[in-house]
């Protein structure tokens, strides 16, 4: 609004008023002489709303990092659906498939399957059970903890006599027939 009044500071006042007018026109371009801007359907543009503070802030902080609302626009997302052919190429690539084991054999003793470099599970379970029973006998003979003998040990089954090789050894007796896979030395 221009004021035609001669005052002691005409130039400064006029300048200020001109600037303020320009500002108002910039903020509300539709406003002319007090009327409201024409309303009508407008394109709904996705973006941050142009707030009155935005122009003030634009000059102050140009080096500010983009706010979360702006950075949401810039996240990686797939552009196209991956076709089933491309998917199959990726899913069935040899590096993704499970390797086929070729080191499985048949145990010659019991006939179960075993890996070539590993002991047969069945035969090992047999031996483990027999060692457990032998250790129970040893425990009964020793009586208590920390009674390790200072002589060798030999295991004898039903009806076996110690030979001259088992001369000074501690004898552990097992009350069963000797198993075929445990050969007496």
């Amino acid at each position: 609004v221009l004021i035609l009044v001669r005052s002691p500071l005409p130039r400064l006042r006029a300048l200020l008023q001109r600037c303020w007018g320009r500002l108002e026109r910039g903020l509300w371009p539709g406003v002319v002489g007090g009327r409201s801007p024409p309303w009508g359907p407008a394109l709904a543009v996705q973006g941050p709303a142009l707030l009155p503070q935005a122009i003030n802030d634009a000059g102050e902080s140009s080096a500010e990092a983009p706010s979360l609302l702006e950075s949401v626009l810039w996240m990686a997302a797939p552009k196209q659906r991956r076709t089933i052919e491309v998917n199959r190429c990726r899913r069935r690539h040899p590096s993704k498939l499970i390797e086929v084991k070729r080191n499985i054999d048949v145990c010659p003793e019991c006939g179960n399957l075993k890996q070539k470099h590993v002991l047969c599970g069945y035969c090992y379970a047999k031996v483990k059970e027999e060692t457990r029973l032998i250790r129970m006998e040893i425990h009964k003979k020793e009586g208590g903890p920390f009674n390790a003998p200072t002589v060798e040990t030999v295991v004898l089954y039903e009806g076996e006599k110690p030979t001259e090789k088992d001369a000074g050894k501690r004898i552990i007796e097992r009350a069963r027939k000797r198993p075929s896979w445990f050969v007496q030395n």
Binding site: P108, E109, Q115, H117, V118, L119, G121, Y124, V127, K128, E130, T131, I134, R135, F146, N147, A148, P149, T150, V151, E152, T153, V154, V155, I172, P179, W181, F182, V183
Partner: protein
């Protein structure tokens, strides 16, 4: 300077990292060595058995020096936590392995552990123990091609020598 990549390289390191700390690793291996000397056959994760094997064999090498040796006695005192096993080591194991130049233990892999971790397990035993054998030595069958050819060659040689 790519410090992160350098931290993951371990070229030439022979000792595995077990337990909570180096001291804990030694304690773990010491327990295993004691158990091996007591029971002569133990079942344990493969990595621990492999680590322990070297220590057990060196302990037996020290024991072969005889129990009058000061270093041997100090080694046995450290490595065997149950002191009745020191007697067993010097009086039973040292004479047993006197004729052998080395390799007093046998390490064999067994099927993976049944628990959730499916750990690679092994059984380590002292040779010459009184327990049932884990693996039966198998001779090649007579029906293989090579053995049949060798058998034929032997028969031809006998026939040539007879005539």
């Amino acid at each position: 300077m790519r410090l992160s990549v350098a931290a993951a390289i371990s070229h030439g390191r022979v000792y595995r990292r077990l337990g909570l700390s180096p001291r804990s690793r030694l304690d773990l291996l010491r327990n295993l060595v004691t158990a091996l000397v007591r029971h002569e056959r133990i079942e344990t994760p493969w990595a621990r058995a492999d680590e322990m094997r070297g220590y057990a064999e060196r302990l037996i090498d020290y024991a072969k020096r005889g129990d009058k040796d000061e270093r041997a006695m100090r080694m046995a005192d450290f490595w065997l936590t149950e002191k009745d096993l020191i007697h067993k080591l010097f009086k039973v194991l040292a004479p047993r392995f006197q004729p052998h130049p080395g390799s007093y233990t046998r390490l064999l892999q067994i099927p993976n552990r049944d628990g959730l971790d499916r750990a690679k397990m092994a059984v380590i035993e002292l040779k010459g123990n009184a327990l049932p054998p884990l693996v039966r030595p198998r001779r090649d069958s007579d029906k293989t091609l090579l053995n049949q050819l060798l058998k034929g060659y032997r028969q031809d040689a006998q026939r040539a020598a007879a005539t």
